[in-house]
Amino acid sequence: MLSLLLLIPFLGSLLLVLWPGQPAPGLMRKVAILVLCLQVAWSGAVLLAFDPLQGGLQLQETLPWIQGIGLTYSLAIDGLSLPLVLINGALSLVAVICTRDISQRPRVYFALLLLISAAVNGAFLAQNLLLFLLFYELELIPLWLLISVWGGAGKAMAATKFLIFTAVSGILILATFLALAVLRGSVDFSFLPVTSEQLGLSSQLSLLAMLLVGFGIKVPLVPFHSWLADAHTQASTPVSVLLAGVLLKLGTYGILRFGLGLFPEAWAVMAPWLAIWAAVSVLYGSLAAIAQRDMKRMVAYSSVGHMGSILLAAAAATPVSLLGAEFQMVSHGLISALLFLLVGIVYRKTGTRDLEVLRGLLNPERGLPFTGTLMILGVMASAGMPGMSGFISEFLVFRGAMSPFPTATLLCMVGSGLTAVYFLLLVNRVFFGRLAITPTAPDPLRHSRLDILLAPVAARETIPATALAMAVVVMGVVPALLGTLSESTTTAMARIPAIVQALASQGVG
């Protein structure tokens, strides 16, 4: 059943590549939409088949592949990965829908998008370390191509930076997995936790540190974040949607699944430092966002801040904080995708994202009022306003982490408060006041009288953003929809370190 989640986009990608003749870009887009609709529908079928009360892995599929090196084709799903699979399908569909007017190699473009969707699904479903790594690396090249071919003016530099950072990330993760196998003395790449019986604590700590740096690059956590803002700035809107909404989640998923799951003992030792790291990341991301004048870079840095709180939740590893981490992953996926879509609309219509240039886009007849309305909703959700998904996720993270790490949690709360600062700056500058899309002229009177002629935003252009905004509100009003899916799994995960510690304190291990 789960294999189809990989096969549908893979075959779709292949179909696009092998499509005979020179098909029109519109046709390629329609085929990609159809394939992704199938993928979303099948994700829905998996959702129906999933038993949320069961905390463990479900719908398992195992096939021996290259047994000599311990590579097994092993897929399964649990409450941690299912929401991410669902959001991957949805955001891939959004990315394809919001790709318009693509004239350059549409066939390859859509094929790469489908390939990324398949690889991400594979990474979330893989139950073998090498298989995970295979999928983790598989999305790298397509994304690099999407930035370097279809990106903005500085795409070469941004794409190379992205490639170098994420390649290092992959190498570190691979090195960790291999070292683990070597130190364990077996080629078993299953997800079983490592105990001190198998491996000394110092070795565990070293491996965990490598893993954290590897996934920390992907999340990204400060100081490994510098590729993100450049990649977002140069990537087209659909690629930014995928990058922020889905691909960053691979990093946090890896931290939760492998950092916490493989090295529970070392995790317990390192957790206080991780909480501090999270606080630094959140504060740095938020403060950097305040300083930005490009809307896209501001949203990108807000990602650094918000993804940092997932590390805090993981460090605390309480049932509530881990549920909060799951909520934050989904919520951040939806909100950042929404914000990137809206920034994309603003850029397409005005030709700029400069906060020093744009003014008054909420203007009812000449501006982009509906886009502005959705943007205000999006930034409110991002700032954690009650009634939207951002509130639920941040509340759960902070509630869960407050008891073990009060100082780090308070610092993260300050960072979360800063979200309101930079997004209010954004909304106030870009959407309020007198409509303007040019830098203030030397003659302010003349500038204040410019007649602005922006193309209107067609209703169909805002359908994906409207759908995401509705999802953000629904998740905020009925959090149980996601909570019931993930609660059993996250509660079970929270028990792992506790069990290990209990065993260790009794001298059994």
Partner: protein
């Protein structure tokens, strides 16, 4: 490839006061002459004429039939209380009479000219006393309110007098604008100059029309603006109206930063410059922007020719009210132009040095105020304005 923001902006020139003064003294029009300007001004004034007709009837109805009514719930229905009319009203299928009241209040608040002077005088007070005496004998609520707030009922009567006077003023203007459109349709007008001249002639012809107002309380007639007060159309109502609505106006939320405590609004009411000639058309349809009501009303009665032209411009019907506002501003410059022309102290062709000097001072005073107004609308840019989708096609 993204659009270049500069492609999406444009602005007309802003002539200096000296240039405006020169145009006024040379008998030139302020608004540039172009076929689209003629079409915009004539058609927007035609729809304005239709709307003013409704405003005028309603203001006169309110002043006469809803006089001192403490709960004027049906004041916008012009006396037609049929269920169909009430349903249309509730459904907002109606003219926004609130805009007419807004203009009336601007006039009342700025209070310039002969009408305001009369409303502060002794004869008016005496009329008020007589009316209040008669009214309070029959209305217990007003009988209680009057001793508690002795200025309340006189102020309501002032409001009613201004309402009626504005109704009479707009009656004349409505007919004038509809006649103007008719003349243009018959081919009698083909230039901005001819439009300004037509309006000037209409204003001059109506200049001496008496402004009077009589109410009936309990079947007993009372003069509020009696004929012997000698109030006339041009000096006592038209000029204060232009001062209050065209020039001074009121700062409303949405167009200017509105922090009177920080002195962002001049404490000197005479220095106000928020009127129709100064207002920014872009915020039209924003919350709390009263001219939006007028633009919506004019949109309901837009002549087909102008409607079609707007559909070809910018966002088509998406920003039609902003475009109506821009055309309306051009038309109001023509009306102001005509009013200035009609009120020069001496003929422009005079050879007498003293008279020329007086004319020059008069033109300079107007030019100085108008130079701060939205004179950027005076240039003829529209002929070069393509439909937006065409302008940015392939760039977005």
């Amino acid at each position: 490839m993204p659009v270049i923001p500069e492609l999406l902006t444009r602005s007309g020139g802003q002539p200096a006061a000296a240039e405006l003064e020169r145009r006024l003294l040379a008998g030139e029009t302020l608004l540039a002459d172009s076929p689209t300007h003629v079409m915009q001004v004539v058609d927007v004034l035609e729809s304005y004429g239709i709307v003013l007709d409704a405003y005028s009837r309603n203001l006169i109805y309110q002043a006469e039939q809803q006089f001192l009514n403490p709960f004027p719930v049906f004041k916008y229905l012009d006396g037609d209380h049929s269920p169909a009319k009430i349903w249309r009203h509730l459904n907002h299928d109606r003219i926004n009479f609130e805009y007419a009241e807004y203009c009336m209040r601007a006039m009342l608040w700025h209070g310039t000219g002969g009408l305001d002077a009369y409303l502060d005088g002794q004869p008016f007070h005496q009329s008020c006393e007589a009316i209040i005496r008669c009214k309070t004998q029959r209305d217990p609520l007003l009988a209680v309110l009057n001793p508690l707030f002795p200025e309340f009922l006189p102020e309501l009567i002032r409001t009613a007098a201004t309402t009626h006077a504005l109704g009479q003023f707009w009656r004349v203007m409505s007919d004038l604008f509809i006649d103007l459109a008719e003349a243009e349709h018959q081919g009698q007008l083909a230039s901005v100059e001819a439009i300004v001249e037509f309006i000037k002639d209409g204003l001059v012809a109506a200049a001496a029309n008496p402004i009077t107002y009589q109410v009936s309380v309990a079947g007993q007639p009372f003069w509020i603006l009696p004929p012997e007060a000698g109030l006339t159309f041009l000096v006592d109502v038209a000029v204060p109206y232009v001062e209050a609505v065209f020039l001074r106006g009121t700062p409303f939320l949405g167009t200017v930063s509105f922090n009177a405590q920080a002195q962002q609004i001049s404490p000197d009411q005479r220095a106000f410059a928020y009127g129709a000639l100064y207002a920014d058309p872009l915020p039209t349809m924003g919350a709390g922007i009263p001219p939006s009501l007028l633009m919506q009303d004019m949109f309901r009665h837009l002549p087909e020719r102008l409607h079609h032209w707007y559909q070809e411009q910018g966002r088509g019907e998406g920003d039609v009210r902003v475009k109506i506002c821009m055309s309306f501003q051009k038309a109001m410059f023509c009306v102001t132009n005509a009013a200035i022309r009609g009120t020069f102290p001496h003929p422009l062709s005079t050879a007498d040095a003293a008279e020329r000097s007086a004319n020059q001072a008069y033109a300079a005073a107007w030019a100085s105020r108008l130079s701060q107004a939205r004179t950027d609308c005076l240039d003829a840019l529209d002929d070069a304005m393509p439909r937006l989708e065409v302008a940015v096609a392939g760039q977005a």
